[in-house]
Amino acid sequence: MELLEKNEKLQDKASGSFEAKIERDDAIEPRDNMPEGYRKHLIRQMSQHAHSEVIGMQPEGNWITRAPSLRAKQILLAKIQDEGGHGLYLYSAAETLGISRDEMIAQLHSGKAKYSNIFNYPALTWADIGAIGWLVDGAAIVNQVSLQRTSYGPYSRAMVRICKEESFHQRQGYEIMAKMMSGTAAQREMAQDAMNRWWWPSLMMFGPHESESPRSGDAFKWKIKRSTNDELRQKFIDKTVQQAEVIGLKVPDDQLRWNEEKKSYDHGPINWDEFHSVINGNGPCNKQRMAHHKKVHAEGAWVREAAEAYRLKEEKLN
């Protein structure tokens, strides 16, 4: 009994110090005490973030062999390489919370862990590569800039590094769109079509309104999350609408209006039924993306086994 009380006191102290750190805006580091809920929340969020980077390589990879110039191919290859690199830092950052990459991949394959819903949409034309860079990376940056101030040190530091690269991606995506909009009629049509298909899913990337976002409360309390989904979405819309107008693209929202009073845009209703339907597995590419990841993982097993077998043999020799 005495021991139990002592333990509880110790835990209070530990938890107190966690809360004090959060209160003071100090970063939480891997060896610090943290509530189990905090750890779990971060594992879920960071592994989802890592998986998104990796699954996102698929729709973009779909255009590498068809990239229409050597320069475009270099930019796309470098971008995809960045995304894979982001996946790596994020897996490593999540590993500091006591979960292995293998476990995270197993959770992805079982459906326990998710990845960003946006990658369940197909990259159909070259303009989609522009739209993904400009809109999808553009939306991701808004979210990630806010996450640079997240309370978990390794996550926050990963975000600082990632944001620098994402801003290049966004400009490169925009450049593709701009170039197509100043090209032939077929190219302009292709660009507008990509805009029409990617605009709404990009707005959905920020997630539903806070009241519909089940884990928001803790995330704010623990300062994992710093801005609401709606605030971030608004920021994205406000910076993107003008960019579209400059190159002659129409935002596919008839209700989009500048609101002088709040100094930002009002937008039409988002189709949250579509969002939920896609999250629940009924998007155009959900099955394709997961089947591909599983297939590649299974096909690569003999290589990973060989590398491990060789490492063990070498260890024995030395």
Binding site: V54, M57, Q58, G61, I64, T65, R66, P68, S69, L70, R71, A72, K73, Q74, L77, A78, I80, Q81, G84, G85, G87, L88, Y91, W126, I176, K179, M180, G183, T184, A186, Q187, H292, V296, E299, G300, A301, W302, V303, R304, E305, A306, A307, A309, Y310, K313
Partner: protein, 252 residues
């Protein structure tokens, strides 16, 4: 054939080899056995794309008809490509990709080490950059060949099958024709006869270190220099040049 024509063809050959390798390597994106390897192979594809750009740009300048690197990459047909057949072969499994990288990166490391001393300054300066990349590609291939060859029974079997299957495409890398002869006289082209024994020695050594046996077949495929390819190249170009073919007037 004038020196200018020979130099144009020589640059095209080197550029096409880089371009075709870039295509095959980039097909590994999202398909590699680990995320680290995915990044490595995509990075090599990036090196190869840059190399193709440098060499095809120079080819266009030598030719003097105002053709850009993209014109040469995206607006030529199968019969006009002059890459080595080994580079257009499908990736196969990871062992095949490593076997090709072993053969080709070792060759390119030796080749570009020599080309650095070319009397053509532009080629020499491109070679100085490329040789650093090739050294890295070769080290990567060596590391994997050793691991796969000495890993499990399955990896050994696959690695042996891969070097056996690709062996018949290695002879072509040392073939020469009038282009080489003309440029050799001017100290522009690499003396392939000089690097062949070194290549053979290095490959024999690596195969041994990997616990594998040297392939026995003596038959060697040929044709790339004359633009006679395997059936795979046509499909590659159809995909690579898709946008240029579907929208001939558009610029991207």
């Amino acid at each position: 054939m004038t020196e200018q024509q020979a130099l144009y063809k020589y640059c095209l050959r080197l550029g096409d080899n880089a371009l075709v390798q870039s295509y095959r390597l980039s097909e590994w994106c999202s398909n590699a056995p680990t995320l680290e390897e995915d990044l490595a192979l995509v990075n090599f594809a990036l090196d190869m794309t840059g190399r193709a750009q440098a060499l095809l740009t120079y080819a266009g300048e030598v030719d003097g008809n105002g053709k850009t690197d993209d014109d040469l990459a995206y607006r030529r047909g199968e019969r006009e490509f002059c890459n080595h057949l080994i580079n257009e072969q499908p990736n196969g499994d990871f062992a095949h990709t490593i076997a090709r990288l072993l053969f080709v990166a070792t060759y390119e490391y030796l080749f570009y080490s020599e080309l650095m001393r070319s009397a053509d300054e532009r080629l020499a300066s491109i070679a100085a950059k490329v040789v650093k990349e090739s050294r890295y590609h070769m080290t990567h291939a060596n590391d994997w060949a050793i691991r796969l060859g000495n890993g499990t029974d399955e990896s050994q079997r696959r690695m042996q099958a891969a070097i056996d299957a690709l062996w018949m495409f290695t002879g072509e890398m040392f073939e020469t024709d009038a282009v080489d002869a003309l440029l050799r006289d001017k100290n522009i082209a690499v003396d392939l006869g000089k690097i062949k024994p070194v290549w053979m020695e290095r490959i024999t050594e690596m195969v041994k270190m990997s616990g594998l046996s040297m392939p026995e077949g003596a038959y060697m495929q040929s044709g790339g220099l004359k633009g006679i390819h395997t059936e795979y190249l046509g499909h590659m170009l159809t995909e690579m040049q898709y946008l240029q073919r579907a929208y001939p007037d558009a610029a991207w």
